[in-house]
């Protein structure tokens, strides 16, 4: 039917082997096919993780590095999670703006997406944290002073009481990641909405639903379902990119690993442990995304 949209591509079909258990058929060519399709890379990753885990348990230097770096784990996770939630909201709003027929909203949304996509992420993180946030805070202060002069001291004091020193680097890092990923997620939402056939909106409107009602009850539920895997993949990407906030001296695992290496000169221990920690997080999240993809396909 015209309104059926193909689901986003599922990745490696061979992964089903690791998920559903291996049931090798006796036929020879079948065996050869299975062997060549078997996700050896995944076994290798497991071996690397298990090997590193063993070294961490048995080798005191590695154990020390691991314990030191683990101190940054909660910052990495919390920063990624909070930033992702904000990026989702920002992305949804911007995605809606991108498809809006309102010229102002549409151009604002497009401007934001193009600005973010045109600047390297490293520069963006610095820019948003060290320029963007202070400018916004200064503007809030200015508005607060205006309120005070206008004789509304309550609101005025509230707005002037925010100051740049009070906005910690952790918060700025979250803002920077949210704003950056908001633009990426906006494009995912936009593509998802556009993947839903025109007939759905028309049927909804012909029943008297407003644009907002049709969007909320008919278009978005289908669109979001279609892009869930893409959204999941971008969460994995964000976990990795959260390492950039270490440049703002936020004590995530990258930052504490750098501190550890600089202090102890045990570069191998620090960076092998750090890499495996990221890998463990991203590979297990990717697996979750793939399981989700299969679920969605089966539900059809």
């Amino acid at each position: 039917m015209a309104d059926k949209v193909p689901l986003p591509q599922t990745g490696d079909p061979a992964l089903s082997l690791t998920l559903e258990g291996i049931s090798l058929k006796p036929e020879k060519d079948q065996l050869g096919k299975r062997l060549s399709e078997f996700p050896w890379w995944f076994v290798a990753i497991i071996l690397i993780a298990v090997g590193t885990a063993y070294i961490i348990v048995s080798n005191t230097n590695y154990r020390e590095a691991f314990i030191f770096i683990t101190a940054g784990l909660s910052i990495t996770i919390i920063t990624s999670l909070i930033a992702y939630v904000f990026a989702l909201m920002l992305g949804l709003l911007t995605g809606l703006g991108r498809i809006s027929r309102n010229v102002v909203l549409n151009n604002l949304a497009t401007l934001y997406v193009e600005l973010i996509r045109g600047i390297p992420m490293l520069v963006l993180i610095f820019f948003i944290a060290l320029v963007g946030v202070p400018v916004v805070v200064d503007s809030i202060n200015a508005i607060g002073r205006w309120f005070e002069q206008a004789g509304i001291p309550l609101v005025g004091t509230l707005l002037t009481s925010v100051n740049n020193q009070a906005v910690s680097m952790n918060v700025r890092a979250i803002v920077a990641l949210s704003v950056t990923y908001g633009a990426f997620l906006a494009e995912i939402f936009r593509a998802g909405i556009q993947s839903i056939g025109r007939g759905q909106m028309e049927a909804a409107r012909s029943l008297g639903m407003s644009y907002g009602q049709a969007m909320r009850c008919i278009i978005l539920p289908q669109a979001i379902r279609n892009v869930l895997p893409a959204l999941g993949n971008d969460f994995v990407a964000m976990v990795k990119d959260s390492s950039l906030v270490s440049l703002l001296a936020v004590r995530d695992i990258s930052q504490v690993a750098r501190l550890y290496a600089g202090r102890s000169f045990r570069f191998r221990e620090a960076y092998i442990t750090l890499s495996v920690m990221y890998l463990t997080m991203t590979v297990s999240l990717s697996l979750l995304v793939r399981v989700l993809e299969r679920r969605l396909r089966h539900d059809r």
Partner: protein, 255 residues
């Protein structure tokens, strides 16, 4: 069970279309259509592909905004005001060629959703209205199914039930059977015939001549964005006045 409004002698024009033009860029889909539809009447529209039949139907409920011209529904001139359009569309059911059921909702939810959020009916009332309509189209047992689990004919009947559940004054059908396998056409046409007998005002784009003969009070032949001929089905089939109409009829009747 005739519609109460169909009993009197005097019947007003529930749809009035005046000098309607619709352009899509260079393409002129409608070139000055005038049409009146009396309450309780059934009008069918035939014509070659691309002649503007769908566009006319979609301008009647402003799914397409006309480039020029007026549409009056039940005495009210349509404007671009969203609030007015939402209210007017609530009174006009529309059935599409490709059904356009909401695939993420069950059949029952398809039929209750707009009743709930547009008509603001309480859940119980919306459910019982929905079941009534599903009963009428003959598939109450599919209430819990998803659209993808239904045949084309069943999906189209659900789409009709979904529109009827809003208690519209007018029903628009855009080639409701042309996407169906031949063996499913009858079950949909039967529902439409019943509806016509009950006195629903209907505008139906279709090439099902059997339906036109049996149910239509008037039949319209369109070509090039214009109404070429408008008369009773009997006269159109037996005594077409225009050459274009004759040509078209000879093409579709000898298929």
């Amino acid at each position: 069970m005739r519609n109460d409004q169909c009993t009197g002698e005097e019947r007003d024009n529930i749809i009035v279309v005046k000098n309607l033009h619709k352009h899509f860029g260079e393409v002129k889909a409608l070139n000055g259509v005038n049409l009146t539809v009396e309450r309780c009447k059934v009008v069918t529209i035939i014509g070659p592909s691309g002649s503007g039949k769908s566009t006319l139907l979609r301008c009647i409920n402003y799914l397409e905004t006309p480039t020029y011209g007026e549409v009056w529904i039940d005495g009210e001139l349509l404007t671009r005001t969203q609030k007015q359009l939402n209210a007017v569309r609530t009174e006009i059911g529309m059935v599409f060629q490709l059904f356009n059921l909401f695939p993420h909702l069950t059949v029952l939810e398809n039929v209750t959703l707009a009743q709930r959020i547009v008509r603001k009916r309480p859940l119980e009332e919306a459910r019982s209205t929905a079941m009534e309509q599903l009963q009428r189209v003959g598939i109450p047992e599919k209430a819990g199914a998803f659209p993808a689990q239904l045949s084309g004919g069943q999906q189209q009947r659900v789409a009709i039930a979904r529109a009827l559940a809003m208690n519209p004054k007018i029903m628009l059908f855009d080639e409701p059977t042309s996407a169906l396998d031949p063996e499913m056409i009858k079950e949909v046409l039967d529902v439409m015939l019943d509806l016509a007998k009950e006195g629903m005002t209907m505008v139906v784009v279709t090439h099902e001549m059997g339906f036109a003969r049996a149910a239509a009070d008037e039949i319209i032949f369109m070509d090039d964005g214009l109404i070429v001929e408008q008369t009773t089905p009997y006269d159109l089939f037996n005594n077409p006045q225009q050459e274009r109409t004759k040509l078209f009829l000879s093409q579709i009747l000898h298929k």
